[in-house]
């Protein structure tokens, strides 16, 4: 992690869509009276989604106002969690796991693919479709190496399959989530190794 700052260029304003406002109300209602501030994480998350994958300063203020909390407190939360992007991201935001198991299984190769196809971490590809960041363990070590793109995991990657995946996303083709090598979830590679016969 590095020092996280608000983006240098900020939109004029931010307002939740009606749909998101209704959704926010259900989130806030989960907490007792006077404890609305507890809903800050879901609200910031929704604001990030609506804002195209990143949180702008007006969005942070908007959420703080909704929860009746000081702007500073909301900014603290937004800068604390790495799940909040403070600068714009691509349409497909790749979070590449670089922690030990993935690294041992070839995460460095995936990084090279990203550098080639997208650019340096944080850069957005010229067509605005892709950007990437290295993140810490996403908890799918058994399917290492893996990346998270927007809401989905893509696992058991190799440089080739990953490159193809990025190309498919870039061109709007359908992609399969989960393991990219035909494996079923986190079952053994190449099919079951035990309990194969009749009992």
């Amino acid at each position: 992690m590095s020092v996280r700052r608000l983006h240098s260029e900020q939109p004029e304003s931010f307002a939740f869509s009606q749909e998101n406002l209704d959704w926010a109300a259900t989130q806030i209602a989960k907490y007792p009276e006077g404890r609305q501030a507890s809903a800050i994480l879901p609200l910031l998350w929704q604001a990030q989604k609506q804002g195209g994958g990143w949180l702008s300063e007006p969005a942070i203020r908007c959420v703080a106002d909704m929860l009746d909390m000081p702007y500073m407190r909301a900014l603290e939360v937004a800068t604390f969690y790495s799940m909040f992007n403070l600068s714009p991201v691509g349409e497909y935001f790749v979070q590449l796991c670089g922690t030990t198991p993935c690294w041992l299984r070839g995460a460095d190769d995936l990084k090279d693919v990203c550098r080639r196809q997208i650019g340096e971490p944080g850069d957005i590809s010229e067509d605005g479709k892709l950007s990437w960041l290295e993140v810490e363990c996403l908890g799918a070590c058994v399917n290492a190496p893996m990346v998270q793109i927007n809401d989905d995991f893509y696992e058991d990657l190799t440089a080739d399959t990953f490159e193809r995946l990025l190309e498919d996303l870039r061109h709007g083709r359908d992609v399969v989530t989960g393991p990219q090598n035909g494996r079923q979830a986190s079952a053994p590679e190449g099919g079951p190794t035990v309990l194969k016969g009749d009992m």
Partner: protein
Amino acid sequence: MSERVNVTVDGIAVEVEPGTTILQACEAAGVEIPRFCYHERLSVAGNCRMCLVEVEKAPKPVASCAMPVAPDMVVNTQSESVKSAREGVMEFLLINHPLDCPICDQGGECDLQDQALGYGVDSSRFEDNKRAVEEKEMGPLVKTVMTRCIHCTRCVRFATEVAGVPEIGAIGRGEDMEITTYLEASLESEMSGNVIDLCPVGALTSKPYAFTARPWELRKTETIDAMDAVGSNIRVDVRGREVMRILPRDHDAVNEEWLSDKSRFVWDGLNTQRLDKPYLRVEGKLQATDWQRAFDAIATRLEAGAGQVAALAGDLVCTEGQFALKSLMEKLGSPHLDCRQDGAKLSGPRANYLFNTGIAGIEDADALLLIGTNPRLEAAVLNARIRKAWLAGHFPIAAIGQPSDLTYDAEFIGAGPQTLKELVDGKHGFAEVLAKAERPMLILGQGALAREDGAGIFAQALALAEKTGMISDGWNGFNVLHTAAGRVGGMDVGFLPGEDGRDRDGIIEGCKSGDISTVILYGADEIDRAELGDAFVIYVGSHGDRGAHGADVILPAAAYTEKQAIYVNTEGRAQMTERAAFPPGDAREDWKIFRALSDRLGVTLEFDTVDTLRTAMFEHAPQLARLDELVPAGSPETPVAALPDLDEAGFAPVITDYYFTNPVARASATMAACAEARRTRAKAVGGTGTDG
């Protein structure tokens, strides 16, 4: 109260209240625990880990600031493991702390420096690069060197809890955590300077004081502040004859250990715009002269005897000076004198013009009504006390006046006297809240008193106080909040119209009509010169401000840091200032000026030392002799004179610009910078800044 708990600290047995922390128990035993984040007036954070101690049967050292005592706990603060734990903490703290003490303003009074002496090791095992943090902008008062920050979060907690402006925070996390204000704006607080004292290292230091002096070369004088009527206890640090800075002193009953920004940063105003010579207006222009000629001019004027002489006292003047001038006026046979230069309709016994509850008493109250006052601007430190009581809970607050952010929830129930009347008649819901409360209080501000119908409003407020049980045995919830440090002292010595004497409005009227031909303005700078007509104006004061500009004779006097004098704060507490520096040039202490003038006018005053003056003054006002005591003032009384009809106009704010309320503040470049910063900020956020 539950049973007290026995604890042993380093073999010393102490008995403490349950719920006390180990750190407090250690202090009770006289054992000092090093700490950075812990501060007794802030919430416990427990993040610096410097206060580790060993507790018997505990597997690891515990953070004593956050751990409550248990019965029969045995604490050891001197063991080898404690020492090595603290050394470990210190080594971590110093990993990212720059070794720039020689160029750091905190040097010589730095907690980290002091404690590194006790627990630091002489070398570092850290071989990587130290962390560097970008500078943060925090306005014209607080200078930041954030690389020095050790993340104790005292400033964050102060801003959130005490000042009530949650604008400082810690962004990022781990090694990247940084303390900053939201979008690096200056703190919208009248108490922001306190973060400088709280910062245990040199991360937040005083911008106006930056690189000007070292603590060991300053002469420190413990004295009293005069920027507002709170009477904050201060320490004035002087090098040579120049005031270098002002710091607060502890006084639990007055300012705890806080100080408002105006009181703290006004010192450059004490060194500029000073009157250091008598001046005389010759052919329309003020010319420097000497005392003799200035006195001659006054004598010539008075001997001509065309009309009467009157005197008005200002906001910053001391009790001795006002008593001397009052005595002089008596000798001259003039009853026209007034210390209420704002025209506040205050009179009667002491209880009528004091903050009877006492500042510390606010914490005992359980309901509050503010009438025509904005304590945040008028007495910032007192406002912090109201906030403290409000934070403690069960403290409903309502206010009549112009709505503004007071740093706590106050319900603005009306704009003017009409609402007060409704409360008296029991027509408003808050009257019931007051009546139900056990110890309700009201604060009557100068915004309600300094108007034509002030006496009527006073009577209504008193009626409300009596009706809602604010005044009873052992509780007096009727309070007047003053804005001028000299006012209560002036009222105490009777610097008020004598028999058939004119008050402020009468004096102005008299000047216009020509009945009054000579006016002595004793530090009274808020009087419009144009209103005094053709009267001959003698200005006695310390600064070349509004009063001096229109004067015909100027007699230079001492400022509040340059004399030993009694000031009485709004609660009636008489406190003695000490001389931190000498008045500049030919300027003299106030009472000496009046004594010398009386001699020249042939009506010599009896006292020729400050002691004989005080003896005479104490005869008149014995409560002044009891320094730092709250002398009970009894119950307030309704004025006997006919009461004016209430005007419908709402209460106007007393202070429109917090940073420019008096001649010293107006002479201060720092205050001007603050006012400018606040204007810029108000513009940036769309004009929602408070009235300051």
